[in-house]
């Protein structure tokens, strides 16, 4: 009889990050602004909602990058941009060095084949009228030129890989539990042998006892296929378990990004510190001093000037925070933060220096 603790120790978690691995996905200054209805009789300036406002992320083969933040921070819009479901307002997405916006139709099709998604809610993301085998086969029929027989083989292959039985291929989604449905969702994403998977809150709709099953499945699949994951989550502990790299988002921008370990053990940005302090403890005796942020997240339609976090920041250092938007600077090795607490912005500002070019908002 093996105990639960022994069981855990026999298995391995995520593989350490290989920094020399190929960069699969990269965004540069990626932004998405939505123009809202408004203005006077349709004339004049319409308000724009800056859902994503210039983010730079790199995802390497075999790496999991976690995007964390509260609702409205732009993490889901980022996922949609990467999936090609929204057109970026500015910035570029590079897939293995090639700019997505400049790709030919055929190359874009290839991109979509290589960037697959697993969605949050396995109840609404699977078509209730289709059998499991058709759900998993659909991407193969659309994208590849495989014959019926080949598709059938591939379907049973991926179903087995996600831990489902061959006979279950003939069932409908409603005949499965939540965890199994999410396995079907993973199988569908896996069918085309993608290089990247966008995981949009893959376990938050599942029961506690099932979550670990799916997380471990994703970890094992990643090691097996050297997959790159971009995972969106609001649960910080899940991110720490899954992700090599963590990016903390607030109001459409990245406030802190880097290797997960330093971010969780030594968060630099006041927002990350507040987020971690508010997270639930894993033991009743763990006591964290909670950093209480005043007010609520401001509207992305009219975000605060300077650092977007400045109206709620408990350690704001002065007018520089309201006027200069901080850029990401590497404070420690592989640990970038966007905050004037670090660097010499305050001194330069107080000395009356003009706004640095990088911080000027382009309203074009």
């Amino acid at each position: 009889m093996t105990t639960i603790q022994e069981q855990i120790q026999q298995k391995e978690g995520i593989r350490p990050l290989d920094v020399n691995a190929e960069i699969i996905l990269e965004t540069r200054g990626l932004a998405k602004h939505f123009e809202l209805a408004g203005g006077f009789l349709g004339f004049g300036n319409k308000p724009t909602l800056k859902a994503v406002d210039g983010i730079d992320v790199i995802v390497r083969a075999g790496e999991t990058v976690g995007l964390v933040g509260e609702s409205g921070c732009g993490k889901s819009t980022t996922a949609k941009l990467l999936l090609g479901l929204e057109k970026p307002t500015a910035g570029q997405i590079f897939f293995k060095g090639e700019d997505f916006t400049k790709m030919s139709r055929a190359a874009k099709r290839d991109y979509r084949k290589n960037v697959q998604a697993v969605f949050q809610d396995p109840w609404s993301s699977l078509n209730p009228r289709m059998r499991v085998k058709s759900i998993v086969a659909e991407p193969l029929q659309i994208v590849t030129k495989m014959t019926k027989g080949e598709i059938g083989t591939r379907v049973s292959e991926v179903l087995e890989e996600v831990g489902l039985n061959a006979y279950q291929a003939n069932l409908y989604p409603h005949e499965f539990s939540g965890g199994q449905r999410q396995r079907i969702g993973v199988a569908r994403a896996l069918a085309l042998n993608p290089e990247v998977m966008i995981l949009d809150e893959p376990v938050s709709a599942l029961d506690v006892s099932i979550r670990a099953q799916i997380l471990n499945l994703l970890v094992d699949l990643q090691k097996e296929h050297n997959l790159a994951y971009l995972m969106i989550a609001h649960n910080l502990a899940t991110v720490r378990y899954m992700c090599h790299t963590t990016a903390v988002m607030y109001l459409g921008g990245i406030k802190e990004i880097g290797d997960s370990e330093p971010i969780f053990s030594n968060p630099l940005h006041p927002y990350t510190q507040a987020l971690i302090s508010a997270a639930l403890p894993s033991h009743p005796d763990i006591e964290r001093e909670e950093i209480i942020l005043p007010g609520e997240v401001p509207s992305p339609v009219d975000p605060p000037s300077g650092c977007t976090f400045n109206p709620r920041c408990p350690v704001k250092i002065g007018d520089v925070c309201e006027q200069w938007a901080p850029g990401l600077t590497e404070e420690e090795t592989s640990h970038w933060v966007s905050c004037h607490l670090y660097g010499d912005a305050k001194e330069r500002f107080d000395a009356g220096e003009a706004i640095p070019a990088a911080a000027v908002e382009d309203d074009a």
Partner: protein, 389 residues
């Protein structure tokens, strides 16, 4: 953020030097001695076309004044049905409370008439549900919705009613209560809406508050504020809270005692530290090992294979046996008796008796089995059906 001695503790798992009262950071413990709500062997069954669903099958727990009891379990474990049974809000048919007692403030609420029960709901027992958007009516303003319970239970009118509404809204820290109470639910943020639901549930000074996953729909920082608010209200009013959740983090932060439910029964109960330090039922142990930690990187999570059994077709033995790492033959055949591990800490698992039936107290053993034999329950269920017809 955790300081370095804290980090050491996390790494070593040694918390022995931290048995102080202020351990949850919410100030001294508010638990008092008098039991204000006690469930004894509560059973709620549903008649469905698949058969009888034993959603709650012999649940006993109690809440003391000023205490927070965490009821943990996954969906379908019966934690919410237990709460609805306390409120007598089980839709009938198909649901029937077929046995047990719910003693609220010395009175068995299952004996009350519907009219008497209506006077208790919302006044002696308050309830906060998961989704504030469905709990609030979109066509009435806040004043109206908070005032409704006060008007009905306390017979207040005019200015005194308005004063009471403002008082309730202030109790849940809604800023500018006088003007906000004219707002409609859609004008408020998620966190504010959940505060309004809180204001409704505490407006008549209940002695027990049932919180059914109140923060699941909220963001991390908003959730932290809401939990703090509940603790503050508890310190002010001494209300006993039953916190239904599937999140062990909330249990760690909020609860004094814990009851872990699986397939309609309580499998383990104890003080919060007993459960975290020494989980004695394999299900509790597995659940704790399957949750990632924030304070340190978990190397590998334990994944509980399979899924909970359907409640209309429970195996004769322990319902967790098919998913259990330790299960032996006896587990599959005979429902385990409750064993005491420590003061206030009990669990129902054969492992604790070395899988030896002869070590079990015969009376306890019979009592545990009678739940699945259900001759009495069956009879009551038929009676209840006859009445419903």
């Amino acid at each position: 953020m955790v300081d370095s001695p804290e980090q050491d503790r996390v790494e070593s798992g040694d918390y022995s030097d931290r048995e102080d009262a202020d351990r949850d950071g919410f100030g001294p413990s508010t638990v008092q001695d008098d039991v204000i709500l006690e469930l004894k062997n509560l059973r709620t069954y549903f008649q469905t076309s698949y058969g009888t669903v034993k959603a709650v099958d012999g649940v006993s727990y109690h809440v003391k004044r000023g205490e927070t009891l965490g009821v943990v379990g996954e969906s379908g474990s019966g934690k919410s049905v237990t709460a609805l049974s306390i409120m007598r809000l089980i839709p009938s048919p198909p649901g029937y409370i077929v046995g047990g007692e719910v003693i609220l403030d010395g009175q068995n609420v299952l004996d009350l008439s519907d009219n008497e029960m209506a006077k208790i709901r919302g006044s002696k027992v308050g309830m906060i549900l998961q989704d504030p958007m469905t709990a609030l009516n979109p066509v009435f303003n806040i004043e109206n919705q908070v005032g409704e319970a006060i008007r009905i239970h306390q017979n207040l009118k005019g200015q005194s009613l308005v004063d009471k509404i403002i008082h309730s809204l202030r109790q849940v820290r809604i800023p500018a209560a006088e003007s906000r109470m004219k707002d409609f639910p859609h004008q408020l943020s998620g966190g504010m809406r959940q505060r309004v639901v809180g204001a409704i549930s505490i407006s008549c000074a209940p002695i027990v508050l049932i919180a059914d996953e109140p923060t699941t729909a909220l963001d991390v920082t908003i959730q932290a504020g809401y939990l703090r608010l509940l603790k503050e209200i508890q310190a002010e009013t001494g209300v006993g809270i039953i916190f239904i959740t599937h999140d062990f983090g909330i249990v760690a932060k909020m609860c004094d005692r814990v009851a872990v439910m699986y397939a309609g029964r309580i499998v383990e109960t104890g003080d919060v530290r007993q459960i975290f330090n020494e989980p004695s039922h394999p299900y509790s142990e597995a659940l704790l090992a399957s949750v990632p930690k924030l304070e340190e990187r978990t190397q590998r999570l334990y994944s509980i294979e399979g899924q909970p059994p359907p409640l209309f077709d429970l195996p004769p033995g322990c319902p967790f046996a098919p998913r259990c790492e330790y299960a032996q033959d006896v587990c599959r055949d005979v429902y385990p008796v409750r064993s005491e591990i420590d003061e206030n800490h009990t669990a129902s698992c054969w492992k604790l008796l070395d899988f030896d039936i002869s070590k079990a107290d015969p009376e306890e053993l019979a009592a545990a089995q009678s739940v699945s034999v259900t001759a009495v329950a069956e009879e009551q269920l038929q009676e209840a059906e006859a009445v419903a017809d």
